[in-house]
């Protein structure tokens, strides 16, 4: 908290003292003014973006865990899937924007998908690694009770991997935010990303930063929610934060 206030003070001072132009980096005061300016209708944008973020997060989490399980399940599946996933993940999403537009069109759902595409990879990798980080004795335990492989996955490997998965979900929470915004950059009619890109290109930077403040608030809220859920879902995996 103190750090935050300090940061804002430094920001304000830097802007004042270094005489930085407002269109480049507006002062916190200017951002605040733009932020609370009643003329701006934040709610519709906030609503759309929040929906996209949550959708992206849920999709990335679900698909990521499924792919991580698939990879940990069979080395053959892994050697087939991993290079493909790495490839998909190294592809700069903005560069394939025309393809998105072609296949998905624009709107909330396509932006969810773009967000998910940007955020799913950490979940895949952490899930796969987490599933492999199991004490061999625990696997023996499962095998000796003649559990089928999938049951060992479900009852031993998966809960054991939960700290990994939860860690990845924290990462993905923030990626989903970036992803939804990037999706809106690619094509959109509403949303905070739409506001950012629109205001930025008319050099109304204070308003763009106002939208960025909203983005941060949504991001922090989602992150906080994931941390809280993680603590509730896996109290034994006491994390420090």
């Amino acid at each position: 908290m103190a750090l935050f206030v300090g940061l804002i003070v430094v920001w304000q001072l830097a802007v004042s003292l270094l005489n930085i132009r407002e269109y480049l980096l507006p002062s916190p005061m200017a951002v605040l003014r733009a932020f609370i300016e009643p003329e701006t209708q934040w709610w519709p944008h906030l609503w759309v973006t929040t929906l996209e973020i949550i959708g992206a997060f849920v999709l990335a989490g679900g698909v990521g865990v499924a792919l991580g399980v698939a990879i940990a399940w069979s080395p053959r599946l892994a050697s087939a899937l991993v290079p493909f996933l790495v490839l998909v993940n190294t592809l700069p999403k903005v560069a394939v924007a025309p393809l998105f537009l072609l296949w998905l069109g624009y709107g909330i759902v396509p932006n969810m998908l773009i967000g998910a595409l940007i955020g799913f990879f950490p979940v895949v990798i952490n899930t796969a690694v987490g599933l492999s980080q199991v004490d061999p004795e625990m696997l023996d335990l499962g095998r000796v009770f003649s559990a089928p492989k999938w049951k060992i996955f479900a009852k031993i490997r998966l809960p054991n991997a939960l700290p990994y998965i939860l860690s990845a979900l924290k990462i993905t929470a923030t990626s989903a935010v970036v992803g939804a915004i990037v999706g809106e950059f690619v094509a959109s009619q509403k949303g905070l990303g739409y506001v950012i890109i629109t205001t930025q290109s008319s050099m109304n930077t204070p308003l763009a930063f106002g939208a960025l403040v909203w983005v941060s608030i949504v991001g922090l809220a989602l992150y906080g929610a994931v941390v809280a859920i993680a603590r509730w879902a896996a109290p034994w995996a006491e994390a420090t934060q």
Binding site: M138, L141, V144, S146, K151, K155, I156
Partner: protein, 245 residues
């Protein structure tokens, strides 16, 4: 059985030839590191033997066998499950309705003195308590074959004696139900003598069978049996075989 490792192979077992009858209680004693745990794992089908073969109930063992209860040397409890849920694990893993086993699990915990601890997490239990919980887990499905790797190693003498009697009861010493087959690793010679029909004495690594002794003490085994001269004599003999003196 030879373990391959980066730091060079370790021959753990060599030339083991052992036949255990149905319903027999056989103990394995031998120096630390002679391959007792390895042998139990091979029998359970958890490790492939480098050479030779194992048959259980007539079928060659190539993968983990069914209907076996195993107590590992370490408790290996799942830290995210309560003690009760840990004990119920075999039912869940075997695809049985865990709900139907709750009472039995609770009862088993009671038997080993952990009735009040059913809802606790493993890390809230002492070493000996964890070991007892893992014993309950092995017994949950009432398996006909028990492989037990020092199940009472972390227990005090008194609790251990109680557990020994309880184990004999479960094995089927009294009553006319079919007896279980038990392979029991222990470091306590008197425990081995007290419990077993036969005792297998192993040599240091690589483990070989030094001797197999039949324990012809009367059953049911009681405190009196333990105090008998025959008991002391047998224990001494086993000790001598073990120490090679």
């Amino acid at each position: 059985m030879t373990y391959a490792a980066d730091s060079g192979p370790v021959e753990a077992l060599s030339g083991i030839d052992l036949k255990v009858g149905r319903g027999e209680f056989v103990s394995l004693v031998g120096p630390s590191g002679c391959g007792k745990s390895t042998l139990l794992r091979i029998i359970a089908g958890l490790r492939p033997a480098t050479r030779g073969s194992v048959r259980v109930a007539g079928r060659p063992v190539t993968r983990p066998i069914a209907d076996v209860g195993m107590v590992f040397q370490a408790p290996i409890l799942l830290k995210w499950r309560s003690i009760l849920d840990n004990v119920l694990l075999p039912a869940e893993l075997a695809g049985k309705d865990a709900g139907r086993y709750r009472d039995r699990a609770q009862h088993l915990l009671q038997t080993v003195g952990l009735g009040e601890f059913a809802a606790k997490l493993p890390r809230e239990l002492s070493g000996g308590m964890q070991q007892r919980a893992s014993l309950c887990r092995a017994l949950l499905l009432d398996p006909p074959l028990l492989l037990m790797d020092e199940p009472f190693g972390a227990l005090d003498a008194m609790t251990r004696d109680e557990m020994n009697l309880e184990l004999l009861r479960i094995w089927g010493e009294t009553g006319n139900a079919a007896r279980k087959t038990v392979l029991f690793v222990t470091h306590s010679i008197s425990e081995a003598v007290f419990l077993s029909d036969r005792i297998v004495v192993m040599t240091p690594r690589p483990g070989r069978i030094a001797a197999v002794r039949t324990v012809d003490l009367p059953r049911p085994r009681t405190v009196e049996v333990r105090a008998s001269a025959a008991f002391g004599q047998l224990s001494l003999e086993i000790f001598r075989t073990l120490t090679g003196s």
